[in-house]
Amino acid sequence: MILLLAPLIILLPFFSAAFIGLAGFISPNFRQQEKLIGGIATLAVFIPFLLLCAIFAGFEGNKLTFEILSWMKTGNLNLAFSYQLDQLSILMGLIVTGIGALIHFYSIGYMHHDPGYYKFFTYLNLFIFAMLNLVLGDNLVVTFLGWEGVGACSYFLIGYWYQDMEKAMAAQKAFIANRIGDFAFLVATFIVYNQLGTVKYSEITLSGESAFWVGLLIFIAATGKSAQIPLYVWLPDAMAGPTPVSALIHAATMVTSGIYLIARLSPGVYMQPGAESVLVFIAVIGALTALLAALIAIAQNDIKKVLAYSTVSQLGFMFIALGAGAFSTAIFHVMTHAFFKACLFLGSGSVIHAMEHSHSVKDPQDIRTMGGLLKYMPQTGWTFIISTLAIAGFPLTSGFFSKDEILGKTFAAAHYSGWYYFVWVIGVITAFMTAFYMTRLTYLTFGGNKRYPADAHVHESSPIMTVPLLILGFLAAVGGFLGLPEVIAHGHYNWVSHHWLNYAVKNQELHASVTTEWILILLSIIVGLAGMYLAYSIYKKYDLAGDEKIKAFFGKFYKVLENKFYVDEFYEAIIVKPFVLISQFGVMPFDKWVVDGAVNGSGFVTTVLANVLRRLQTGIVQTYAIIMVIGAIITLAYLIL
């Protein structure tokens, strides 16, 4: 029964986007109806969420499938817009629609009075449509369509304020970085089809060389979408978009699609013989990304930039889990990360909103001109603090459980390869730094002295923005109880990883002894608390001048951190500049002289010939008549003689 309504999950956001986009395009009156537009858009995401909840509640363990449209049938290829609801896609769908609905609701307040209101909600709904295609699709091609769709929507939304050249450039950077990954996705799809003659997830089983290559290519695709070395550079720049977009796309949902895809292919590709080395590679790249981004985040002063780098860093943690073969743990971290990171971003949006409205600070995103906001924005402040505790790994919060599980599984994976010890050590260091820079961010924003002008009137945001914050803050606090560690709760209480996801993904067998697990849990607690305490004590004592202590600690290296390891400059010099040079001095002359020459040359020849031949057309009737007569005489003479 509920399956009859299942196509609505996919179609509602699509029809809503089409309706809002067309109606707003045609009618200027409709554009003014902010409440109506926001209401329709929010419902179009909330109803799919309720449907998914109903399916989830009545789920009996068997995969549900439904098909909306047949697409192409040629030879043995039968492509259709067909979808599957299994444990993994239901969980991802719930995250996407649940967080999505909250962020839609929040945007009604945040985007108030924006001239492009209807466009914003069109793009948001279109994004949800594409994302649902990505996570619910039952074959690689439908997932790829969603994959491209979210990339395009991400481009639209980063460049939403496109009159600002810098923001338009950020959008292009994101799109190009994503395209590089998409290419790898396509090649992987071709290999799968070539080897198996099918692209359905349930029928994919590769081994040996093809498992290695498909695994590697899908991981490259994931480095684009999920912002890992070397393609992570677009994500920090993507913060140019409106803050709800950063929360929805660049923190909670789209950037986790690479993790989803790898988890989805775990039974057929990653856990097959031949892909072991790919897993180690994924773990190492994930660890390096986590460390690099955490280091950069320490030296940033833009509230959204810090959150962006922390997202890259947390995504690195998820890849560590994937690399260790703990796919369901990675998805668990995707879930808890969605809770606390969406809350952090929406909280930062609330802060930016307040700073913007005070009209007295130059850059509303600079934490150096904030401080002491907790008193004025208690709801934003406390939810932000809760989420900071979660991401920093404060005991019993959601981030604590998921991060501890990742580190534990990585430690256990060292049983298979020594590399995992290296990954684990980096993971622990990064966890410490995460606690440090997040505490720094929160303290400089909400604690300490006011550093903005005294006449600024800063106030709490409207309930339409704080209600989603409260819900997300609550989830960030308690969401971890869905996946308690094995030593505390055996079997069913380790709900996400064991009771639920184990049916959809295939995990590596990773077990550590009870003593080891307890030691690791204690270590996680100590590392998290130490990071938080260190940052708190420094900034409590010195306030903003605490940054000087950090500078003194890092010495000359701090400059490197401040400039993000010069990665952008490096890419500029190695890739962009040579590309531009080749275009200018190699391709452009060829285009100008050879290609344009052929086109213009044929036109020139025609003109010259025409100039000669058109003299024949005098316009005088008698000339034509004489020619006709001469022609007739010649014809007659020929016939007679």
């Binding site: 058109r614 005088i620 009737v621 004489i626």
Partner: protein, 104 residues
């Protein structure tokens, strides 16, 4: 009632002379009305030869065809003269050499 061969030659000779005069007139005269008259002359030259052949072969089809040609010529005269009047209203003359705009 049929014509002898010698009589037919007479008809054809007159017809050929008329046709030639008409053709030359069309080609060399500049006044559009004269050109028009010369065209009529050509048509009638053809009519004359048709009548001559019709009598020579004792076949009324040729005479029937002459009636058709006359009808068409009348219609053509109507259209052609209206065009000439229109041209005259625009330019105050009907010299064919000056009506030469329909070109490159």
């Amino acid at each position: 009632m049929g014509l002898t061969e010698q009589q037919l030659y007479l008809y054809l000779a007159v017809s050929a002379a008329m046709f030639t005069i008409g053709t030359i007139g069309v080609l060399i005269r500049r006044n559009a009305i004269i050109v028009f008259l010369c065209i009529e002359l050509m048509l009638n030259a053809v009519n004359l030869s048709l009548v001559g052949f019709s009598r020579y072969w004792n076949d009324p089809a040729g005479v029937m065809l002459v009636f058709f040609v006359m009808c068409v010529a009348a219609a053509e005269a109507v259209v052609g003269l209206s065009i000439l009047i229109a041209i005259f209203r625009n330019r105050q003359n009907v010299r064919v050499t000056e009506v030469n705009l329909f070109k490159w």
